[in-house]
Amino acid sequence: MEEGATEIKASRIPKIDKIINYKDFFGEYPIIFAIKIISSLSLIYVISEFYVYHNPKDSLLTKYLGDSLKGFDPNPEVFVPWGFAAGFLFYIFTIFKGKYKFFLFLIIAGSLGGYIADPAIDVQQGEYVIPTNTDVENSETNATQWRWKPVKLVYDDVEGTNDRIDDVSVRLTNVIFGSMPFLGAYGIWKRKGWAIGASIALAIIIGFLYTPNLCLENFDEAFCGYDTKQDEKSWSEYLSSGIFIGLGFVIYIELSYAAIKYENYAEQFKPAGLDISLLSKAQRKSVSKTLRTLFVSYLINLAVILFVTFIIAEIVININKYLSTSDGQIQDSIELQGPYGIVFTSLIFFLLLGIIRMFIGPDNKMEDA
């Protein structure tokens, strides 16, 4: 053998990038990572505010399941952060690679099984920790047999297990409320438009099935968590406070969409099957600069438009107040002073804006025309 030749042994510890695609999490461009964080924060804000109004205890689910499930107590302070965390962790699970993803799945399944079964199963030391050759009982021929029983499982607390199974079923019921943040978080981080769309659709369904003070019709005040029915406000007051939640929704939709859009832009430089792009340093800098310019311009546009939207939305909602209180026959209309009137005047206002739009802005005609 040649002297001085050294054999380089491969390390037994696998490299981190063989275990998890951490580059998918951080991305190649910090600005996209920042968009995802801002988008996640807006998601948490929007959903928390959503459940402040749409109390889950006033839902149809509480009405029909509340009695049958012991310990059912949907609390937004619990399921919103946990739903978000579950969505985020599910995303982390998806970026694990090959066999490690499978191992992780086994660990999760095992942990869940262990969690459910734990109180019922007591692990004790067995009779034969070391393999032993013992005589066979009731044998006439002095026969022997090897025995090895290092562990003994004792089933002793079945009730505790049943409690835990109940606990799991309550948690699973909460999943319905928690799926909004779950899908939102997964959609933002995994760049899945359908998940973001589904979280919004779920919000609409939950909101549609919500009935104020429904809980008090079926449960006592102690369970429902509020002593009296909610304070009555005027519709204009209600709507004005709802504007912020509406803006929150717009921010959530826009930022998550922007995260997907800009990530897709960066993704196009990656050859199929590779975790990173093959761009040179200079090219990556150029892409990074383009992304920065795009995002800064986007944020400026978003801020300006949201501010204008807020002002216009306030005008739209309050213009009804002026109309319904102004002199003339119009103030005699009962409908105009309620929510129908607000929506009706708003739509007229939008119609007016539409007519103005016809005369403002570029008119991009076909060249032949």
Binding site: F50, Y53, H54, I200, I204, G207, F208, Y210, W235, Y238, L239, S240, S241, G242, I243, I245, G246, L247, F249, V250, I253, E254, Y257, K261, Y265, Q268, F269, L278, L279, Q283, S286, T290, T293, L294, S297, Y298, N301, L302, I305, L306, V308, T309, I312, A313, V316, I317, P339, Y340, I342, V343, S346, F350, L353, G354, R357, I360, G361, P362, N364
Partner: protein
């Protein structure tokens, strides 16, 4: 124009507002009105179409098959408009991007010049073009957009791949006046050994083979092969039948690669080369020499398309009267679907021309594509072998070029 997103947001907003009314849910009404306001306000940002100047800088105007071309796409906003612009530089469908991207998204400012680069690879010969450029100008939120197609075209050619030939088999008995490097297989002044003969008065002492003198005891001289410039005719079969197979694996593609390889070698050796491509008509590149002539031949080969069904006998009848007598002809053809081959070859030989055939086997492509059942394929193979044997029996040189072999392997069969 409204995007899908705008339609979805506006539709959702109206649904929320009306659903809020039905369920008396103020949050729905607020959110619906806010989203509707957002869409309406964004429509006022509806977008300008920029005035732009586009140009491209490429590493080369022509590449060889499987070669790489780097493109720098430069766009300049010559107006005052600003906005988000998506630019897509259309590429030929055969092109494969190996670096960068032909798509970009940018925020364009007045008088700004922006560039992006990409490299592409083209596996197949032909004439291609980059462009036109598709531009989509939109608002920041992708709610409304306008599209325009800029007719900015950049044409380029992909030449057939050239291999290095390891040996030379082309022969001619019709030397030209100028000397060259082509062996003519006749005795004359050259460098390549031909045979030994006895010394006769007048022979140069420099040609005496002293080893042979020592062995035989009498004066022997070396004879060498005469090397001269000659006229070589490359004849490429581009009939419709030559498109059997797919992609790079068709008789026509193989023929073009082989013809380009021969042309390069022959022109490097200072010979005159002409190219004839026949399909529905005969396209000619007349006899000439030099680098510029190679470019002409490669361009003609890039233009060859499989079409028509002109028989070889007609082609020969048309060509032979115009060719220098005795010139070697190299035919690149799969020899399929042509019952005039024997007659064409006979009349060519009888006029004193030599003809060498390089024949890519189209049956191999069919076999690979599994389009012909085994039994008919076997019969077709036997028929082809018989035809090649028959041609060889005329004293013709025929190279049976199998799929996957390079030109050199086909040459060795001759």
């Amino acid at each position: 124009m409204w995007s899908k997103k705008a339609a979805a947001v506006a539709g959702g907003a109206i649904f929320l507002t009306l659903a809020g009314l039905i369920r008396l849910n103020y949050l729905f009404i607020s959110a619906g009105l806010v989203m509707l306001t957002f869409v309406v306000i964004s429509s006022f940002l509806d977008v300008w179409m920029p005035n732009v100047k586009i140009r491209r800088e490429t590493t080369s105007d022509n590449i060889f098959e499987d070669g790489t071309m780097s493109v720098k796409f430069i766009i300049k906003n010559t107006g005052l408009g600003i906005g988000f612009v998506e630019i897509y530089d259309s590429l030929p469908p055969q092109a494969r991007i190996i670096k960068g991207s032909n798509y970009t998204l940018l925020y364009m400012k007045p008088w700004q010049e922006v560039s992006f680069e990409y490299s592409l690879k083209l596996p197949l010969r032909g004439h291609y073009h980059l462009g036109p450029v598709k531009m989509r100008v939109k608002d920041a939120f992708d709610l409304f957009y306008n599209e325009r197609i800029e007719e900015s075209i950049h044409s380029f050619s992909v030449f057939p791949q050239i291999e290095v030939l390891e040996e030379q088999v082309i022969t001619s008995r019709a030397p030209k006046l100028l000397s060259g490097a082509m062996p003519l297989n006749v005795i004359g002044t050259g460098t390549e050994f031909y045979s030994l003969r006895e010394f006769v008065p007048g022979d140069s002492l420099r040609s005496v083979n002293w080893k042979a003198l020592a062995k035989k005891g009498k004066m022997m001289v070396n004879e060498t092969v005469r090397e001269d410039v000659m006229d070589v005719i490359l004849l490429v079969d581009a009939r419709e039948v030559s498109a059997v197979g797919g992609g790079r694996d068709t008789p026509l593609e193989m023929s073009c690669r082989a013809a380009a390889t021969y042309a390069k070698q022959l022109l490097d050796e200072r010979n005159n080369v002409a190219l004839m491509v026949y399909g529905d008509t005969i396209d000619r590149v007349d006899l000439d020499r030099g680098e510029h002539h190679l470019f002409k031949i490669l361009t003609a080969l890039s233009s060859a398309k499989p079409q028509g069904n002109l028989k070889l006998e007609i082609v020969m009848k048309d060509l032979l009267p115009h060719l220098p007598s005795g010139s070697p002809i190299i035919l690149f053809s799969s020899l399929d679907d042509d019952h005039t081959i024997s007659e064409a070859f006979t009349s060519t030989i009888s006029r004193g021309f030599t003809i060498t055939t390089i024949s890519p086997s189209s049956l191999d492509f069919e076999e690979r594509m599994k389009r012909i059942p085994m039994e008919p394929l076997l019969i077709a193979k036997i028929e082809r072998d018989n035809m090649i044997s028959e041609l060889r029996s005329f004293g013709l040189q025929v190279g049976d070029w199998k799929y996957g072999d390079n030109v050199n392997t086909a040459l060795q069969e001759i």
